[in-house]
Subunit: 349 residues, 2 copies
C-alpha cells in the first residue's frame, strides 16, 4: 500500500541515520524556555526551574498497536504523540517536550517517514510541544515508534492515582467507547476490501468513531478547566485501556472500592447506533473498549456543585470502602462486579 502511494521514493539507506535526522527535524521549532537544548547533542537539556518534571513513555508497534492498511502514517504520528501527552495531562501537568524514536524496515521510503513526522509535527504545533531528541534506526520488520513525553507541574498541582477516598465522586471527561468502535468499523472495511477491492465504503454513519480512532485528541484543556473551577482531583488517570481497567488502577492504588452506574456512562449516539448494528453491548464497549484518551478522576463530594452540569464532565459514580469491591450498578439496579478487562497485547488472538 505504501509502495503504491508514493510516486517518489527516496531510499533511507541513501540518507543514512544522520541525514534522516536532519531531514525530519528541520521543520520543528522550539517554543518552551524550559527547552535549553533539543536535537543535536548526546542528550537534550531541560530546565524545570522550580517545577517538577513529569515523564512518560510508550511503545507502538506495527501489527500490535496499529495497522497501516487503514491507519495513514500522518495520523499515526499524530496519535502516537497524543497517547503520550495524555499520560502527562493525567498527572495534571503541562506537557512541553517529547523524544521520538522510530525504527522502520527498508520497505519504507523516506516519503513514508516524512508523512509520519508531518503528523508528529502537527501534534507538536497544536499542543505546543518541543521535539528534543530521539533515535532513528532500521528494523527487521515493520515500523515501531517509541515516544517519551516530558511535562512539568508545580508540586502541589500534581495528581496521582492513589488519593481517591470513599464518597469521592468519579468523573470522566468526554464520552467512551467510540475509538474502539472506530477500530471495529475499520477492521470490517479491511475485510470487505480484501474480498472486493473495488467496493467504495460508505462511512458517513461512523465519522465520529473513525476520527476518535485515527485522530484522538489528548485532554490538554482539562487541567486548565479544573484550575478555573478551583477543583483539584484526589486521583486521576487517562483512559487508554478502558475505564474498568483504569478504575482498577485507581482503586488498587488508593486502597478503596467504587460503584459506577451503567446509565451514567457517557455514550455518543454513533456509539449506541453502531453497537446495535454490530450487536455488541454498549456498556461493555464503554467499560473495556479503550483508546478513548479521556481523563478519569475523582473529586471530593464537596466539589459536586463545581463539576455537575459541566458539558466536559460526566459523574459516573463514587468511591466506596475497599471491602465493597468494584461494582457496576446496571440499568435494572443489579450490582455486578467490574473486571479489569484491559487489553493484553501478549494474548494470542
Amino acid at each position: 500500500m505504501l509502495e503504491d502511494k508514493n510516486q517518489n521514493r527516496t531510499s533511507l539507506a541513501e540518507l543514512g541515520e544522520f541525514g534522516l535526522i536532519n531531514h525530519i527535524t528541520k521543520y520543528f521549532t522550539i517554543s518552551h524556555s524550559s527547552t535549553v537544548k533539543a536535537v543535536g547533542d548526546d542528550a537534550a537539556v531541560l530546565d524545570a526551574s522550580t517545577k517538577q518534571t513529569v515523564i512518560s513513555t510508550d511503545l507502538l508497534i506495527e501489527g500490535v498497536h496499529f495497522d497501516l492498511s487503514y491507519m495513514p502514517l500522518k495520523h499515526l504520528g499524530y496519535k502516537a504523540v497524543m497517547v503520550n501527552l495524555s499520560d502527562i495531562y493525567a498527572m495534571n501537568a503541562v506537557a512541553e517536550q517529547i523524544t521520538v524514536s522510530i525504527a522502520v524496515s527498508n520497505r519504507f521510503p523516506l516519503e513514508a517517514v516524512e508523512e509520519l513526522y508531518a503528523g508528529i509535527q502537527l501534534a507538536c504545533e497544536t499542543y505546543q510541544i518541543d521535539l528534543i531528541g530521539g533515535d532513528t534506526t532500521s528494523s527487521t520488520k515493520g515500523m515501531l515508534l517509541s515516544i517519551t513525553a516530558i511535562g512539568k507541574a508545580n508540586k502541589e498541582d500534581l495528581v496521582f492515582r492513589n488519593g481517591a477516598q470513599p464518597t469521592d465522586l468519579i468523573v470522566v471527561t468526554g464520552d467512551l467507547g467510540a475509538a474502539y468502535l472506530g477500530l471495529q468499523v475499520l477492521e470490517r472495511e479491511k475485510q470487505v476490501f480484501k474480498v472486493n477491492p473495488q467496493n467504495q465504503p460508505d462511512l458517513d454513519n461512523y465519522t465520529y468513531l473513525i476520527e476518535r480512532q485515527l485522530k484522538p485528541e489528548a485532554r490538554k484543556d482539562i487541567a486548565e478547566l479544573l484550575k478555573e473551577l478551583d477543583v483539584k482531583p484526589t486521583s486521576m488517570i487517562d483512559v487508554s485501556d478502558g475505564i474498568s481497567s483504569e478504575l482498577f488502577h485507581i482503586c488498587t492504588q488508593s486502597n478503596v472500592g467504587c460503584k459506577i452506574y451503567e446509565d451514567k456512562l457517557p455514550l455518543d449516539p454513533q456509539v449506541i447506533a453502531t453497537c446495535e448494528e454490530f450487536e455488541i453491548d454498549s456498556t461493555m464497549v464503554a467499560l473495556s473498549g479503550g483508546e478513548d484518551y479521556e481523563l478519569l478522576f475523582t473529586v471530593p463530594i464537596s466539589d459536586y456543585e463545581k463539576v455537575k452540569g459541566n458539558p466536559n464532565f460526566s459523574i459516573i459514580g463514587h468511591i466506596t470502602e475497599k471491602n465493597q469491591g468494584l461494582q457496576l450498578v446496571t440499568r435494572s439496579s443489579k450490582e455486578i462486579e467490574l473486571k479489569a478487562q484491559g487489553w493484553n497485547s501478549f494474548k494470542e488472538n
Copy 2:
C-alpha cells in the same frame, strides 16, 4: 536457543502487561531524592531542584543492534543501560533515572524477560540509577528495547558538542576498537557453531574484546575525574559509532577542523593481535569500529599539563581551523582525510 535454556517457562500471556510490570519492577529500589515518583502512575515525577535535566534515548532492535545467539539476555539488559548512560556522561552530567520499554514476541517466556531485567537491574545498582517507568508490550517479531536516560547537571558544568576551538587538544578515554573486534570474534564463532555444534570455542585470546562487546561500561568516572583535575572540556561526545564519526559531529557543530595522529590512537594489545589475525587494519577499526562507549573530548591547550600522562586519557590530536578539514596523520606522516564511516543501520548488508 532460549527454548532450550529454560526448563521452566511461564507464558507472558498468562501474566498480562500489568502482572509483568509488577513482576519485573519489584526488585528495583530508588536511590535518588530527585526521583519523586517512579513506576506505577501515568508518568514519573522528578525534581531537578536548581539543576538542569539531561535526557537521552536509544532504541535497540534484535537482528539490527543485537543477536541473541551470542548476546546473553542479561548482558543485553546491562549493555542497553550503558549505551544510554554513556550519552548522559557525554554531557558531563550525572545519570540518575531511566525508563525502559520492551517489546517481546510470544516466543520469549517470562524467564527470558527476567534475565533481561536482571541485567538492567545490575546496571542500575552498579551505576546508581532509578528505574522510573516504561512500557511493556508484545511484538510481532523478536525483541526490542527502548531506553530513555535522565540525568542532571549544574548549568555551568554541561559540555556540548559545539564548543571546540582551534588549538584545543583532542582527548579520548580508554582504548578503541575492542568492542568491534569482539563482535567479529563472536560472529566467527557463530559461523563455526553452525557448521559444527560440538566445537568448543577457545576464546582465551579474546577475553577483553568479548567483554567490551558484551559488557561495556559507561564512563561515569570521567566527569568526576575532570572535576578533580579542574578541567572543563570545550566539547564532548561519547564514542558509539567510532571516533571518525564522533569527530565529524564535533567539528561540524563547532565549525572547526581537526588533525589526529595514527600513532596516538590507544589500542589494547588484544586489538593489535586480533587485527593481525583477521588481517584488518587496526587504525580503521579504532576509527570506525564503534560501540566503545568511551568519551571523546576537547580541552584548551593550556590544560595540557593536567591531562597528559593520565592513564585514563590519550591525547590523539588537536582542533584546527575549519578550512583544514578533518585529517589523519599516518605513521608515515602522510595526511589523509577522515571520513565519518559511522554505522548506517539502513544499509542492506
